[in-house]
């Protein structure tokens, strides 16, 4: 069943995340971040994030190890994308609200049951 497969995939993803977390928190971060050397109390706080975004962690770790990251990259905030993201959100929210109002039902308490065909086979207009 699809649901079972999705749950199994999610579990697999998290299991890999646990392995990445163990390696990264014990070996990796001391190699790439001098501020982390000798600092241990905060490391358990990072585990949930590694479980969730371990592919990104591996990618960044590789960039740091190979020195591929450029300094400019740290100082170019995606400000233009900010406007796009906010505008998209605004459009979707407005459409969603409009849809919500359009489809909204009220309990039709005034609709009475109508007898269409009486049990003896004859027809009646209404009750």
């Amino acid at each position: 069943m699809t649901a079972t497969a999705i749950i199994a995939l999610a579990q697999g993803y998290c299991v890999i995340g646990v392995i990445v977390a163990l390696i990264f928190l014990t070996v990796g971060m001391d190699r790439i971040d001098e501020d982390a050397r000798g600092a241990y109390a905060f490391r358990p706080l990072l585990i949930p994030a590694i479980l969730l975004i371990w592919p990104l962690v591996l990618w960044r770790w590789l960039r740091e190890e190979t020195g591929a990251a450029s300094w400019q990259g740290r100082h170019s905030p995606p400000r233009a994308a900010h406007g796009v993201a906010a505008a998209l959100m605004a459009v979707i929210v407005v459409i969603t609200l409009a849809t919500g109002f359009t489809i909204r039902q009220t309990w039709p308490a005034d609709r009475a049951p109508q007898l269409l065909v009486a049990p003896d086979g004859g027809s009646e207009a209404s009750q």
Partner: protein, 354 residues
Amino acid sequence: MSVKYIPVQWNRSKWGYDAVLLLGVGLFLWIFIHIAPGLLNHERPINPPIRNARAYGACAFVMLTIILCIGPLARLDRRFLPLLYNRRHFGVMTAAVALSHAYFVLGWYFSAYQGATRWETVLFANTSYGQALGFPFESLGIFALICLLILAATSHDFWLKFLTPPVWKAIHFLIYPAYAALVGHVALGAFQARGNETLAVIFTGGALLVVGLHIWAALRERTRATPATDWVAMGPASDIPEGRAKIALLPSGDRVAVFRHEGQLSAISNACAHQNGPLGEGRILDCLVTCPWHGFQYDVRTGQSPAPFTEKVPTYRLKLEGDAVFVDPDPNPPGTPVDPVPAPAGTPAQEAPA
């Protein structure tokens, strides 16, 4: 900051912020869960798990709505910047409240089904994806919750430095799809379930407030930006007040902040090394440029944080033609010292209105 990482760098402001936050959340849940049943006075009360799910769900919606208002509010009126200061704790608490909502819903509506766990039943109980009315709105909630969990989990400063502020910021744009999904989750769920207009007004009002503030702030931002080419003209030096900066948009899309400090002009990147906060909207305090978001500081002539901190931002070269200031759009590597340019004598070097 370039001192050893600790779980949370507490200070008075953060204690105060979190105290108000906890008080607000506690008040909301207490009224919803403990006061309302008495006021509603139903002969047979709503089941506690349903009531709890509603309380935590409503609280999460209100919290996320407020969070999304903080950004544009702070851009529209700088007095709201303190709300932004510890917004990450606000986000983490929202994720926790949303998770509690999911916990009550999963344990109540989706458990006790033979042959499948609650994690599976929530995925297959309703598969009417082709219809708006009766759409499996739970899936939108799950998406929003996963986004909130990612944002909360990556809120420690380590992630800012490790992922780099632009990547971190890009990930945290997830807040926008998350909010859109949350609006869908409510619009196709609780909003349909009850014919009560109070709920409709609060829900619609909240969502439209977020949308309206974002559009307003974006429009304001657009009128401020001044794109240019080659050496970028910054206008007259007299426009820059002592201890403050003027910001310009460079052709590369980056922003530069030109500060006047003790009568001399220096230019550094507008993006703070911590979270890419707008340094040009900060001040010079004790000879150091201070970020308006989290108070990170830099020497305006070198782009370097004072010891023991090691943050650096790029610097820019400046030239003067008469009173007109020009900035070289090519940044120097972070922390490169640049000699300040003396501002022309006789120009007003006082504070200007904000």
